[in-house]
């Protein structure tokens, strides 16, 4: 009984938060639509809409066009300028640090190398010499496969763990034990089992992406507000309806957090894994260029890895925002 209540507590707290947030929103929407009778409400809304449009079309030519453009430009500068300044600072320091020579190439030299490199990103010159485009795609493919399988296994596992207390009591200690282990420690096991480098790298990705997905999904399931489950109980919904209408939508934001964390670590790990396994891939490419002593290519690779990671992250943020029903 006590354990159940403690387990229920975070859910209840989440529920209270939601109610408070509701109250905040309510205040706003009362201003908007009020509790007037439906007919009047919609009528006044239409009237408001007409008024708004009228005001807009009036105010457009009223303001001088040049002033508006100036305003936009200023807003744009406000957004773009600080990051640009930061970048300039970085390049400046980089330039100063490499000015006196030494092993590390300066910004100019790296830029020239990048231009040459990206002029033909998709060449193939034998299995160990391919364009940077192919290398990035090969890494992305490994991440995609490893991560995809991890999602197929991890998300259902998370649901089961969240739903059945016994299962989570059984498996939580094991997960806690394995989660802090560097996924690279699993690489030899992969090599042994699969006898080939490529699936072994994918295997490491699978291992490192599965934990955040299991844990976040399970946490989401235990945090489904009791209110929603009460609705399901009063309606006596079938398990399938409970899952599709209540559990899944309620857990989705948590799941997406898990996915985001997974992709992030997967992209971190792939570089290291490929350095060890070889073949085609951005990690292997970095290692190869180190052996060729083309340090400017390594610097380019660092930028490319960063940019691809950033794009992955942003894409998932976009998806997450699409499914966050709270502030849609």
């Amino acid at each position: 009984m006590t354990a159940a209540m403690i387990a229920a507590r975070p859910g209840n707290m989440a529920g209270t938060d939601a109610t408070e947030a509701d109250a905040g929103r309510t205040a706003v929407s009362i201003d908007e639509t009020g509790n007037e009778l439906p007919a009047t409400a919609s009528a006044s809304k239409v009237a408001d809409g007409v008024k708004e449009k009228a005001e807009k079309s009036l105010s457009l030519p009223a303001e001088p066009l040049a002033g508006r453009i100036g305003e936009w430009a200023r807003a744009l500068l406000g957004i773009v300028l600080p990051p640009l300044a930061g970048l300039a600072l970085l390049i400046g320091i980089w330039h100063l640090a490499t000015f006196g020579g030494g092993g590390i190439p300066g910004p100019g030299q790296t830029w020239d190398a990048a231009v040459a490199l990206f002029s033909d990103p998709f060449y193939v010159d034998g299995p160990n010499d391919q364009g940077i485009g192919w290398n990035v795609l090969a890494s992305l493919e490994r991440v995609g496969i490893g991560f995809g399988i991890a999602a197929l296994v991890g998300i259902p596992a998370g649901f089961l763990l969240g739903r059945f207390a016994l299962l989570s009591q059984m498996l939580n200690p094991i997960i806690s034990l394995l989660r802090p282990v560097s996924p690279l420690a699993w690489l030899p096991i992969g090599l042994l089992v699969f006898q080939r480098a490529d699936p072994a790298a994918t295997w490491t990705i699978f291992i490192c992406s599965i934990w955040p997905m299991i844990l976040n999904t399970a946490q989401g399931v235990t945090r489904v507000p009791q209110d929603y489950l009460n609705v399901a109980r009063v309606l006596n919904l079938s398990e399938w309806k409970v899952f599709t209408r209540i559990l899944f939508p309620a857990v989705l934001p948590y799941m997406l957090t898990g996915i985001r964390l997974s992709i992030g670590t997967a992209w971190l790990v792939i570089v290291a894994a490929e350095m060890l396994t070889g073949g085609v891939g951005i990690g292997f490419w970095v290692w190869d260029e180190w052996n060729n002593l083309k340090v400017e290519h390594i610097i380019i690779a660092i930028f490319v890895i960063g940019i691809v990671g950033l794009i992955l992250e942003q894409m998932l943020m976009l998806v997450a925002r699409r499914f966050s029903y709270e502030n849609r």
Partner: protein
């Protein structure tokens, strides 16, 4: 009044909390008859929602017996619809879909899609929200959410309608409209109703009996008032009705004289 539909015998409810056992309700004895309307009234925190949840089957009593239709209440069911105090709409479904979920559950076995949609539409129309069907819960006001919750419960055509302060968040005009609608629906469907309320007038207007709870902790039924005003009731005529005034006075006396001293 004929058949007993709900029997509550010697029911107590306590919760295990960090500070030990908290007795919320004790020695509750109440029979609810078929077609009867009951109002539960009492000071905030006395245990009204707790009692309603017990009847709904959402929680099980710590002691005593709860029967519905002669059988032990083992859990909730769609024949006992609940309007929750905090509306409990699913935020990822539109108002229409929130109600449709309930309609589908109850009627899908016997009726086609068109008819289910028609029922959903009618339920929302009843609470004056036909224009908000496609909106999501976070896009409408608190009172409107509460009305969707009422529509959801009514759409199920339950035998017993359990309502936890359903009109609490509404303005006086909407509240009066919905009270009138509710009285019509109850008269037409002969459904049984248990409603938690803070509003003395509402309790007298809507119910056959007003069940007054003493202050918690360990609240129990202090008094039961038989309203005895004929139906159909007309709110305007009742405003000057002597019987109405007496009922009102009796509840006020209980709440503000007998129970106030013990209120925290």
């Amino acid at each position: 009044m004929t058949k007993k539909i709900v029997q509550i015998e010697n029911v107590g409810q306590s919760f295990d909390t960090k500070k030990g056992r908290f007795v919320a309700l004790r020695d509750i004895d109440l029979d609810i008859h078929e077609g009867e309307s009951i109002a539960l009234i009492g000071h905030s925190g006395c245990g009204k929602s707790t009692l309603l949840n017990l009847i709904a089957g959402l929680t099980r009593p710590s002691s005593g017996v709860m029967l519905c239709g002669g059988r032990e209440i083992a859990g909730p069911g769609p024949e006992r619809a609940v309007v929750f105090q905090n509306h409990s709409l699913l935020p990822w479904l539109t108002c229409f879909d929130n109600v449709y979920l309930a309609v589908e559950r109850v009627f899908a076995a016997k009726e086609g899609k068109a008819s289910l949609k028609q029922r959903t539409h009618e339920a929302l129309e009843l609470v004056g929200l036909a224009h908000a069907e496609t909106k999501f819960p976070h896009e409408i006001s608190g009172g409107m959410k509460q009305r969707v919750g009422i529509a959801r419960a009514l759409s199920m055509q339950p035998r017993i309608l359990l309502m936890d302060e359903p009109f609490g968040a509404l303005d006086a005009l909407t509240r009066a409209n919905l009270q009138d609608e509710l009285m019509k629906i109850l008269a037409a469907t002969k459904a049984t109703m248990v409603m938690v309320t803070h509003d003395v007038d509402e309790a007298v207007l809507l119910s056959d009996r007003v069940v007054m709870l003493t202050n918690g902790p360990a609240a129990t039924i202090g008094e039961i008032l038989e309203v005895g005003i004929e139906r159909p009731r007309d709110r305007l005529a009742l405003a000057h009705d002597a019987q109405f005034g007496e009922c009102r006075a009796a509840i006020m006396e209980f709440l503000y004289h007998k129970q106030l001293k013990r209120a925290a």
